[in-house]
Symmetry: C2
DNA sequence: TCAAGAAACGGAGGCACCTCCGATTATCTT
DNA sequence: AAGATAATCGGAGGTGCCTCCGTTTCTTGA
């Protein structure tokens, strides 16, 4: 069975290779969150239990690693939307997801600089990821509207706007609390005047 | 004679210190222009004939050094405006100065990244320097208009606009030649319809 | 199951960053 | 003029970055 398969989309990785790769991404996510974009790559390799050479083979530059970690976290965040929707009332799922969004942003603030470099080099990444986030939000809102637990005259872009305000807010010590309160407030506003609240 | 002089504006530097400082700035300007923002600081110290410690005492971070070099070059560029005005016909001075502006921009392109970091940290620097440049340009244009060697209905902001286009132009190999041609063209346009050309 | 070849590992090595502090001046005081 | 004082010099040293390549481990096919 001679099959032409030259454009192998992504070569299967060897078992040890993919194990190491995952380990590195996991540790890197933690380190970037804790130490920001200047986390030591050697430290990451050490904690992942691999040599520095292995890290560099998988991620030729710091930005490659940042990109992969960033993508991974967006995926997790978006997957959480569906997870939450399955196990909660739609409005609760939406509220909880927005709170997680705050946490997600919090982790990103430390690495703002690396992300900007990445943005310059490959802005397509951001088009993808922001699309994913918008679509997750859309699904949650649609479900909550359909269910009558939030008002029906809301537009995704309004919510996005509010959430992006969180990102650009000044980096005070109480940033996180304030952001969480903002999300609660937003949620109250969405519930007010809903079919359910009127019933 | 007990005099209160606590707010000494800028402590006089010791002779050797200021000598070293100047040497460092000079070498750094050359290195940044040649190698871009990633020029080695140790290399700069070595070429300046001082220890690395001396460099770091004068300029605690790479960005400090970049900022000083940047400021210095803007000052030189603006001083050149007056110099040129004294020794040339006003229109010639203007033309020559714009050509020097191209060279100045060329040197900046390599260090775009460092400049952006600097911009985030201290955007006041840019307000200052762009003001200085605008005012130098204004002086040259005024003189040429008064002299009748360029048309009188020109606005500084139009010329600035054209010059800033040079900065944002794509970084092709012939960027410099194209920019110089653009400046010539601009100059022809300015001369056309001037009092002198009509006479 | 085993051997050969492919792929991945990992750390030594070279360079740059930046800090720290004893040695070395320049400037001030008497 | 010569010592006292304060500022400056300069490089050793610890850390991180990244490359290179000999060694180890996985996969495959017989």
């Amino acid at each position: 069975m001679k099959e032409a398969k030259p454009p192998a989309p992504a070569k299967r990785l060897r078992a040890d290779a993919s194990r190491n790769r995952e380990k590195l991404i996991g540790i890197a996510a933690i380190e970037f969150a804790e130490r920001g974009g200047s986390a030591s790559l050697e430290e990451i390799a050490r904690k992942a239990g691999v040599g520095i050479g292995t890290l560099y083979r998988h991620f030729p530059t710091r930005e490659h690693l940042v990109e992969v970690v960033y993508r991974r976290e967006v995926e997790v965040l978006c997957a959480a939307a569906d997870e939450l929707a399955q196990h909660n009332a739609p409005d609760v799922a939406l509220a909880e997801w927005m709170q997680r969004f705050v946490d997600y942003i919090a982790a990103k603030r430390g690495m703002a600089n690396s992300l900007r470099i990445l943005f310059d080099a490959n802005s397509e990444v951001f088009a993808n990821t922001s699309g994913m986030i918008a679509s997750a939000l859309q699904r949650l809102v649609d479900a909550a509207v359909a269910d009558g637990s939030i008002r029906s005259d809301v537009d995704i872009s309004d919510i996005s706007q509010a959430l992006s305000g969180i990102y650009s807010a000044p980096d005070t010590p109480d940033w996180r609390d304030r952001s969480r309160r903002l999300v609660s407030l937003l949620m109250d506003g969405l519930r007010w005047g809903s079919a359910r609240s009127r019933r």
